[in-house]
Amino acid sequence: MTITITVDGKRHEVTASPDTPLLYVLRNDLGLNAPLFGCGLEQCGACKVLRGAEAVMTCMLPVGDVDGASITTLAGLVEDGELHPVQQAFLDEQAAQCGYCSNGMIITIAALLWRTPHPTNEQIRDALDGNLCRCGSHGRILRAVRRAETLMWGDENG
């Protein structure tokens, strides 16, 4: 069937079986690199994108379920060559080792900071617990959240 999705501001018509996981449509039909295959089981978060303002995993999500939806990938967070504050914060903190989990981390944090501009430490950890990192970049990623918070909204106290 033909499915219409808007990805990073561009409208696409894709012919695929509706049960195809969105991940393969994004990577193989649209040639995008941001969402990565990590487990195919919704256990690790490497494949996340934003559906509207919500971070969703794409490795099991049938493309038929997102017909008409607006999707933003990590690449789409860059606007006119300018990095999204969460991307900038990741660079400032050098918040990665191999970087394979970075996509899911940045997407999750962007969604968190829109929903909860000034999250508590517990809210941050809760939001990120579904994203696995094997290299042990957790400390840097947590620091990047705080830096991104400041870049997006300024200091909570002024």
């Binding site: 695929a16 079986s17 195809t20 996981p21 393969y24 990577r27 193989n28 040639g31 995008l32 690199n33 941001a34 990565l36 295959f37 990590g38 487990c39 195919g40 089981l41 256990q43 690790c44 490497a46 990938t73 990590l74 690449a75 789409g76 967070l77 860059v78 990095l83 991307q87 990741f90 660079l91 050098q94 990665a96 080792q97 191999c98 970087g99 394979y100 989990c101 970075s102 996509n103 940045i106 941050i124 950890r125 809760d126 990120l128 617990d129 994203n131 696995l132 990192c133 094997r134 290299c135 042990g136 970049s137 957790h138 400390g139 840097r140 990623i141 947590l142």
Partner: protein, 719 residues
């Protein structure tokens, strides 16, 4: 990151015969390592590869420093058999130490050559000239034609045509402007913006998607195959090697599920031992026994001791568990077969693929592209073999992506081990005799020939015989303490129940766990504080410095609430490399046995620091990953196969479980750099075990420290 043989131990070279220069050869042609493009770009050819540790950036820093160009001018070409030198494996935290030194000398040689050329062109002597970001300048000549020449202009697209000199002047530490700075990683912008960065992102025209189908049990043979249900995919069969191939990836995945296969139950390998009896089983296998250290008379000293202590520690099988399952792309045009892989060694992989494909090496090209973080031999080489076999068959580009279960089942594990220790104390509480008995296999089994690949077994190549040499299981089995009478003995196992190979720090993870736990057990028996006890046997000022620094930063000796404890551990990695001391603070819930690690303090001395933020990042990663291994990780298996096949059955540390981490780097710019990719991995488990004991009196001697094990240890503790 693991199995470079230590220099003191003769071992067969891990590098297969290769036409390109390797770092063991001399002299070496400068042009093989460094080229200057007409636009002033400095192209660096490195046989090392980026494994997610930042070596691409650190090596670029070294060249930029010695050549006097800005980092922005450097372009790194890494791990391509067609273009880069053969530097064996990127392993054992040795890249900066060995490859970094070669590149440093190469850059210094190039700078010297360029200065000589410039001096002749400007008709001056070289010592009148200065170098500024790829240009050579006479005093006051920054903007004056005729008083300034560029590297690119001097070379005019030509080659250096000289060998790398051991005598070209190297900069002194106080002259460094780029080495020692926290240069941002060159690879991260692409990874943070969704640009192609990984082998997974490589797409070739006409590329097919494949999935390889194997029985859960290695060694089973194919009885029957029914491909009738497949519509959108085709089956490739080479002996018992079976794959499905499709134009669309999801079709290949569906076909892999739909294909009906029957495997024989009478595998050529016997049943695995019951998981609960694993260590008993290991203990009763035939071994080759080798003494690693023997000084004084350990047995006599133990006999004369007034107090004797003994304890046995165990290590389970653990997985690399790379966050992205292995992937490779291959293509074959009838003449050349090219493979892209996240292998740790493009040349050794090429040699092994030549054996598998029965093709000469000069018809094979292996190019490295990054994978998800690798910590040793994960599935990267095996998936490359899968892709190469399929490309030769299909004569069309093909991409093989392992599933999560393929990765957990297929990647070689770090092996289970046993460490049995005895120690004595004399009437003054001084150590009188120390013995260590370790049971371990060799930790180096990277592929060299067809049978070493999983695919090799299925295309009909017999499994190779054990290699007859032993590496890595003895790493850090000797302590760094000045015990007079000691014996360290390794009982090398020819094989273990699960396929095993190199993983971060090899045997040192388990050996340090045992040694540093046992030091605390002896200190307790002597009635001496563990910090004081260690310092009595450490004379090396760098060793004392890391121990004292970590203790001071962690507030060693300050009172803690009930149920909370501090523990420490120290090691000099490989007994010759970086010094590291760790202090962990934990709280134990004695009802459930749950351990909560609240903070970890590390003091780390790896000599000269090339990139302090890079070292810090490595140390942080080592701490978190090793804490995950200490608290949670154990590969589970039935008597037939591995059953830890996803993140639920092989959980790793999550954000909620990550402690505060404090790191102090002790920089020694006057000393050579040694690796930072592994040392801080070995002191975490014993520091945590010692902290658990301090918190609640439970001595855990089995990794991982699950709540059940802590509870059992508590129950075994005399009230």
């Amino acid at each position: 990151m693991a199995d470079t043989p230590p220099a003191k131990q003769p071992a067969p070279s891990e590098t297969a015969g290769a036409p390109r220069p390797s770092w063991g050869d001399s002299p070496q042609q400068l042009d093989d390592w460094l080229r200057i493009e007409p636009d002033g770009t400095v192209v660096v050819f490195s046989g090392k590869v980026e494994l997610g540790t930042g070596v691409r950036t650190a090596l670029a820093q070294i060249v930029a420093e010695e050549l006097d160009v800005s980092l922005a001018r450097i372009r790194m070409v890494m791990g391509e058999t067609e273009h880069t030198p053969d530097e064996g494996y990127t392993a054992g935290s040795k890249t900066i130490e060995t490859s970094g030194m070669t590149l440093r000398r190469a850059a210094a040689t190039a700078r010297q050559a360029l200065l000589e050329m410039a001096a002749s062109e400007l008709d001056v002597t070289p010592d009148e000239l200065t170098v500024q970001d790829g240009a050579i300048i006479l005093p006051g000549g920054e903007h004056t034609a005729g008083r300034r020449v560029t590297f690119a202009g001097l070379l005019a697209g030509g080659r250096f045509e000289r060998t790398i000199s051991d005598t070209a002047p190297l900069k002194r530490p106080e002259q460094f402007q780029i080495i020692g700075t926290a240069a941002p990683r060159l690879d991260l912008p692409a990874k943070f913006t969704g640009q192609p960065a990984f082998v997974h992102d490589l797409r070739l025209p006409g590329m097919l998607h494949a999935r390889v189908i194997r029985p859960q049990r290695l060694g089973a043979s194919l009885v029957s195959l029914d491909a009738n249900a497949l519509i959108e995919a085709s089956v490739i069969r080479i002996g018992d090697f079976v794959a499905v191939v499709a134009a669309r990836e999801e079709a290949a995945i569906r076909a892999a599920r739909a294909l009906h296969l029957t495997w024989s139950d009478d595998a050529d390998s016997p049943d695995l031992p019951p998981m609960k009896a694993l260590h008993d089983w290991l203990r009763h296998q035939p071994t080759t026994d080798r003494i690693v250290v023997a000084s004084g008379d350990a047995d006599a000293a133990l006999q004369h001791a007034t107090t004797q202590v003994s304890a046995t520690y165990t290590m389970p099988f653990q997985a690399h568990a790379s966050i992205g399952p292995s992937c490779a792309v291959a293509t074959f045009d009838g003449e050349m077969l090219t493979v892209w892989s996240s292998t740790q060694g493009v040349y050794p992989l090429r040699a092994a693929l030549a054996s598998l494909l029965q093709m000469p090496e000069d018809r094979l090209r292996v190019n490295h592209l990054e994978g998800a973080g690798g910590y040793g031999q994960n599935g990267a080489d095996d998936v490359a073999a899968d892709a190469a076999l399929l490309a030769r068959e299909l004569r069309q580009p093909v991409r093989v992506q392992w599933s999560r279960a393929d990765e957990f089942a297929g990647e070689p594990k770090t092996s289970a081990m046993i460490m049995a220790l005895r120690g004595g104390l004399d009437g003054h509480g001084a150590v009188s005799g120390w013995t260590f008995d370790g049971w371990t296999p060799s930790h180096a089994n990277r592929p060299r020939q067809a049978g070493d690949f999983i695919a090799g077994r299925f295309v009909g190549v017999p499994a190779p015989q054990p290699r007859g040499f032993f590496l890595g299981g003895d790493r850090n089995a000797p302590t760094d303490y000045s015990f007079v009478d000691q014996r360290v003995l390794i009982h090398w196992l020819a094989s273990v129940p699960l396929r095993s190979s190199s993983m971060r720090s090899l045997g040192a993870f388990a050996n340090c766990f045992a040694n540093e736990s046992f030091v605390d057990e002896l200190a307790l028996a002597a009635g001496v504080d563990p910090l004081e006890f260690r310092l009595r046997y450490l004379a090396d000022p760098r060793a004392r410095a890391v121990v004292e620094t970590a203790a001071r930063r962690a507030g060693w000796g300050e009172p803690l609430p009930a149920g909370v404890g501090r523990g420490m551990a120290f090691a000099r990695y490989e007994n010759t490399e970086a010094y590291v001391a760790t202090v962990a603070q934990v709280a134990v819930d004695t009802a459930s046995g749950a351990v909560r690690v609240s903070s970890i303090v590390v003091a780390h001395d790896c000599g000269q620091i090339i990139n302090p933020d890079g070292v810090r990042n490595q140390v942080e990663g080592n701490v978190i990953q090793s804490l995950s291994r200490a608290l949670k990780e154990e590969v589970r298996f039935s008597t037939k196969s591995i059953i830890s096949l996803d993140w639920e059955s092989y959980p790793i540390l999550t954000f909620s479980e990550v402690p505060e981490i404090e790191i102090e780097l002790l920089d020694h710019p006057e000393l050579p750099p040694v690796g930072a990719g592994e040392p801080a991995t070995v002191t975490t488990a014993p520091a945590v075990a010692n902290a658990i004991f301090a918190a609640c009196g439970a001595r855990v001697r089995t990794i991982p420290f699950t709540p059940g094990r802590v509870r059992a240890a508590l129950e075994a503790t005399p009230a």
